[in-house]
Symmetry: C2
Subunit: 337 residues, 2 copies
C-alpha cells in the first residue's frame, strides 16, 4: 500500500516518533537525523495521512469558509476573497473547506462538531445574524467578514465601509459639489440588513450632513435596465445634482452609459466615485475615482487572525481596513456659474 511513518522510520533507522518530531519540530532532533529522515521521506515519497494526523493531534488543519450565494452580492468580489483565503491558508499549511450559506447553521455545526475543521470564516454577516449564537457556543475559533450589531466576543474584519461612504462625499465636497446622490446596492441587500450596505449609507449621509450638502439615496438592482432607470430618475428629481457615489459594481458601466445618453459628460457635468475593485474601476470607458474593495487583503488578514486565534494568541475584536480613495478621471471640480 502507501508508505507510512513506520516505513520511513525503518528506512532512516530511527523510531516513528523521531520521524514525527523531525516533521513537526516539536522536540529537538539533531541536524544529522533530521537530514536522514528528510532523505527517506523524499526517497519513499512519504505523505502523512491526514485522517490519522487529525485523529491523533485533534487538529485537522482545515478551515471552513462559508460563502454567500445570494442575490445582490457581487460575485467577483466573493471569488477574489475566496481565492485569497485559500492562498493564505495554504501559506499556513491549512486547507479550506467550502460551505454554502444555504446549509445554514446546521452546516457550521456539522463541520465544526465533527472536527472536520479547526476554525471558521463566515462571510456576508447580517446585522442580526442567526449564526452568531451558534458560533459562540462552538469551541472553534471563527472570524466574521462584516460587523453584526452585537459583535462582542466575536472577531470581525471588514473594509471600513462607513469611512468609505464618508471619504467619497468628502472628496466630492472638496471639489465644490453641493448636491450628491448615492446609488446603492440592490434593495434586498438593505432589507436583509447586510451590514456593509448600511454602513456606506450612514457614512454617506453623515458626511453630506456635515458638509451641509443636499443628498439623495437610491438602491439599484444589478441589471443594466435598472441602472438606466435610476440614472434617469436621479437627474429628473435632482436636476442640480453634480456628484454621485456608486456602491454597486454590477451597474457601473450601464450607469456611465446612461449618463452619457442623458447628455452628461463625465467628469465635466457629473463627478462619479465608486466602491469597487480596482481592476473594474480602471477598465471602464472613464477610469473611475474609486475606493477599492480589498478582497485579497481582507482574505489574507482574516486568515491571519484565525491563525493567531488557533495559536491561542489574543486578537482585536474589530479590524477595519482603511478606505483609500484613488482619484482618477471621473471626478473634477464643479463648474461654477
Amino acid at each position: 500500500m502507501t508508505v507510512k511513518i513506520t516505513d520511513v522510520a525503518r528506512h532512516a533507522g530511527v523510531s516513528p516518533s523521531t520521524v514525527s518530531y523531525a516533521l513537526s519540530g516539536k522536540r529537538p532532533i539533531s541536524a544529522e537525523t533530521r537530514a536522514r529522515v528528510a532523505a527517506s521521506i523524499r526517497e519513499l515519497g512519504y505523505r502523512p495521512h491526514a485522517g490519522a494526523r487529525a485523529l491523533a493531534s485533534s487538529k485537522s488543519n482545515v478551515l471552513a469558509m462559508v460563502v454567500p450565494l445570494r442575490a445582490g452580492i457581487h460575485v467577483p468580489v466573493v471569488m477574489g476573497f475566496a481565492v485569497s483565503v485559500v492562498t493564505s491558508a495554504r501559506a499556513h499549511d491549512h486547507d479550506v473547506l467550502l460551505v454554502t450559506q444555504e446549509e445554514g447553521e446546521e452546516g457550521l455545526r456539522r463541520v465544526a462538531e465533527s472536527a472536520l475543521v479547526d476554525a471558521l470564516i463566515v462571510m456576508d454577516v447580517q446585522l442580526d445574524d442567526p449564526r452568531l449564537p451558534l458560533l459562540r457556543t462552538l469551541d472553534r475559533p471563527s472570524v466574521l467578514i462584516g460587523f453584526p450589531s452585537a459583535a462582542d466576543g466575536m472577531t470581525c474584519i471588514d473594509l471600513d465601509f462607513r469611512a468609505a461612504g464618508e471619504v467619497c462625499v468628502d472628496h466630492l465636497a472638496g471639489l465644490g459639489h453641493r448636491v450628491v446622490g448615492l446609488i446603492g446596492s440592490p434593495p434586498e441587500v438593505y432589507v436583509r440588513q447586510t451590514s456593509f450596505a448600511q454602513r456606506v449609507l450612514q457614512g454617506f449621509t453623515a458626511a453630506a450632513t456635515r458638509h451641509g450638502m443636499t443628498s439623495t439615496v437610491h438602491p439599484c438592482e444589478a441589471t443594466p435596465a435598472a441602472a438606466r432607470e435610476v440614472a434617469e430618475r436621479l437627474l429628473r428629481e435632482h436636476p442640480a445634482l453634480t456628484g454621485v457615489v456608486v456602491h454597486n459594481e454590477a451597474v457601473l458601466d450601464p450607469l456611465l452609459d446612461a449618463f452619457e445618453h442623458l447628455g452628461l459628460r463625465i467628469p465635466a457635468d457629473l463627478s462619479i466615485t465608486a466602491l469597487c475593485p480596482d481592476d473594474l474601476a480602471t477598465s471602464l470607458r472613464v477610469p473611475l475615482t474609486s475606493i477599492a474593495i480589498p478582497s485579497a487583503e481582507l482574505g489574507e488578514q482574516a486568515v491571519n487572525l484565525l491563525m493567531r486565534k488557533l495559536d491561542g494568541a489574543p486578537v482585536p475584536e474589530a479590524t477595519l481596513l482603511p478606505a483609500r480613495l484613488t482619484p482618477r478621471a471621473s471626478t473634477a471640480h464643479r463648474l461654477t456659474g
Copy 2:
C-alpha cells in the same frame, strides 16, 4: 469532552460496533435497536469524528474541487458551478475542499496522497493539460470539466460547445443570414488552448462552411473598451454582416451598446446569439437568443459521475450536455432587399 461512539453505545445499552452498523447500515440491525441508538445519538448530541472515521474506513468523504482563477474565465459561471458542486456533494454526504489552480499539480498530489480527499473535480481543462498524467497515476477517481485532446481513460463532462457553435450558426442560417461573425473569448483563452473556446470556434466555422456562409472570427478582451473596438472593426471589415455569435459573457452589454451607437437596431439590422447563463441573457436591454451555460447541471452531473466511480460503477468517458438554444428577441429574419 465531546461525546463519542462508546458513550452512545453505553447509553443505548449496545456495543460500539452496533452503533457503527446502525449508522452505516452495513449490517442488519433490528428496527428496535436502531431506534434506541438513534434516540441516544439525538439525546447526547453525538457527532462522529471525521478524522477517526477517515482513518478507520480510509474514506474521507471529501471531494477536491480545483477552481480556475485565471484571466478570461467568467467568474459567475465558475461560482455557479462551485456552488452546485458543493450542494450536490452534500446530497451524497460529501464535503468539498477548495484547491486553487495556482497550487498546480503539487496541490492535487498533496490532497490526494494525504488521503484528505477521496476524489477530484478539475475545471478549466486545457487541450494538453499537464495535470492529466498526474491524475492517471493517482489512485483516486476524478472528473474533468472540459475535454483535453487525449482523454482516454479519463472521465470528462462539459457542455457540447462544438454543437453550441453550430446551433447558433444554424439558427442564423435558418433566418436567412449569409454573413456572420463570432465574437469570442479573450485571446489568452485561445493561446492557452482551453478546449471550450476552440470547440465553439470549430462548430461555428464548420456550420458556416456547411451553409456556405461568409464568416469571420474575433477574440475579444473582457472589457467594455475592447467590446466597442471589436464591434466597430467587425462592421468596418464586413459591412454585409447581419449575424453575430457572442461567446464572451463579460462584453455582452457593452457590445449591445456599441452596435446601438453604430446605428444598428437589434434584431432588425443585426441578429445576435450568445453563449451565456440564462439570467444574463434575459437581463440585458434586449433579451438575447442564447444557449445557456448550464453550470448547475454540470456541477451536479460531475458529482454524480464521481459518486458512481467511488462506488466502483462504470461511467461513460465522455458526457456532453446538449446545447439548447432559446430564441429571444435578439434574432430575426434578415431583411432582404
